[in-house]
Subunit: 392 residues, 2 copies
Amino acid sequence: MAPFITKFEPYEPEEYVIDKKSGTKSPARLEKIAIVGSGSWGTALARVAALNAAEREGFDPEVRIWVREHEIPGRGKLTEIFNRTHRNERYLPDVDLPENLVAVPSLKETVRGATLILIVVPHQYLPGILEELKEPGLISSGARAISAIKGVEVVIQKGAPQGTARIYTYPSVIEKELGIPCTALGGANIALDVGRGEFCETTIGVLSAKDAALWHAVFDGPTFRVHPIEDVAGVSLSGALKNVVALAAGFVDGMGLGGNNKAAILRIGLLEMSTFTLEFFPGSSPLTFSHHSAGVADLITTSFGGRNRKCAEAFIKSKPEYSGVKPEQRGKTFEQLEKELLNGQKLQGTLTSREVFEFLEARGRLEGYPLFEKVYRISFEEMDPKRLFEDL
Amino acid sequence: MAPFITKFEPYEPEEYVIDKKSGTKSPARLEKIAIVGSGSWGTALARVAALNAAEREGFDPEVRIWVREHEIPGRGKLTEIFNRTHRNERYLPDVDLPENLVAVPSLKETVRGATLILIVVPHQYLPGILEELKEPGLISSGARAISAIKGVEVVIQKGAPQGTARIYTYPSVIEKELGIPCTALGGANIALDVGRGEFCETTIGVLSAKDAALWHAVFDGPTFRVHPIEDVAGVSLSGALKNVVALAAGFVDGMGLGGNNKAAILRIGLLEMSTFTLEFFPGSSPLTFSHHSAGVADLITTSFGGRNRKCAEAFIKSKPEYSGVKPEQRGKTFEQLEKELLNGQKLQGTLTSREVFEFLEARGRLEGYPLFEKVYRISFEEMDPKRLFEDL
């Protein structure tokens, strides 16, 4: 059972033009990168892509990133500060960004003319964004997208017979809505560490060897190691479901339990992630979960360091029976904690937990996923967190 | 790819005798448990086994544990204190032990008459112990052993041609030396948490369904969940090799690097563990590593909380180029750190690292295991720890 890394030749421009006078050869067209989303993870990925675009043949060095306009009192507009200081002061303040990464306040102007579009937004914002991007002629023909969105789309028709609920990955939603091919990116990547250039790995779920070469050229670097595999759904699902398991890991931390518990929860969570994906996306591979950065490694990172874990720990600690908080901070909902702890960033795990729960319930398959079920019930139905370990 | 948990019927004594007068039925013979080893892990497992032996039909309630005699100044002999206070004051001081767990200073008296023998000692001590246990008649015929030893036995004949080096798991060494069947126990188990009765899982690599039922009856309990699988070598190898990866995790911590790095090291480490086992023990299953507590879960626990990680972090921090220590504490060897930090317990990872390195070198297979190779060279050949991420 060898890892199934996709084989590919290093990226090269497909066509060249030769200048008749000087005889110099240059690419017939340049790939132009646009980044939709400027949270901490979007900014960290934008930095990696902009560093590569500036150096690699075949790429337009200017990389545009969509930054929602925002007035910082006494300092001016966020995009202007971004383009003057080359920092995203709101979401990744301590990281220097390359000068060829340009903040653009208009979503449409960000993607106009782009051939490679990274979409990295909280999944609740995606429908509105896709609506705007569907303007005829806005997206270049031949453009390609890559999704780093963590989540799933669940469709349950009220009153429809049980078993008709459907689930989609975001790459497939983007493909359908925008009519361009979409791959997936996921991996053990804490944004700040990537921003600082620390070594890490990421996985790209690709559609073909050509796709692998292209996205590898966009993101791979000496400290950001990109492995393409042919499993778009697996990479996408793993990125969504690991946040649900990270909530369980946060519950363990909040209850003050030890490493054995957390390891057991991670092991069982990884199994449910893999089983869920294979049950509903049968073309996926279990190796995506057991062997790749988007699977086991991302789960570990997220369950020890991510924001879902952090909020889930705070959620438990805010309960009257767990000590360490003042009475006025007790019994908080995830909605409150998100506002207090995340500085405007969005929590993905709770949303995904609800969607996965509703999907499994509508399909009559809850009993196959006791951990996913319990995370939902502890989060939203006041189940005693101590029951997390029952029936696993 | 379903998990391959072994199916078995719950344990029942094989034969009963009926008292003619009263008509009461009782087991024809009682299983008698002996624990060879009283470090923190041995004591925690002994506690679980003794609780079960006291309650389950077919078991002699007295469980004996071998405790090397030791005089505690002003307080008396360690075994006497153990049997009076029902605590192992040296290695698991905060845990109350059941009264039917009896410390015995003589190894031979511990195992005499036992039918189930748990061997849980640092692997460097095993040869001497087996020598003593080989006394004719000491081990009951029909006895069975289970090994919770973390390590491998490597045999390299000086001057022999390359490729003839051999590697053995400890269950196979014990089987060969004592002539009784031996299974393996491993899992995500920090001794103190198990001692406190926190929820955790463990994996038993068994030889048959009968074996599964028996050892499940010895160890399984409400908070100590035992899963038997038919992969003795996989469970045993995983327990040994995870300590090598935990050293790498400690190096990452010592260098002050983030969660991405550590997750990448764990992912690559898990792959090398699995690949190594399948290469040299082809009957093993990759699922042992990807799906079971003895694999991925134990690796996580050990790499975040275990003693190998702790000493490896201290090893890096003692180097002049890493801050945080006084000059007189700089540049320590693992031997020094083991003495200073482990209160008499032994480090298994460095020993296993050396054995695995020598074995791979003798087989000409180092290039297949770059992480294992680097852990050895950083530990013993002063390789710069920053090179850990090269060529992975």
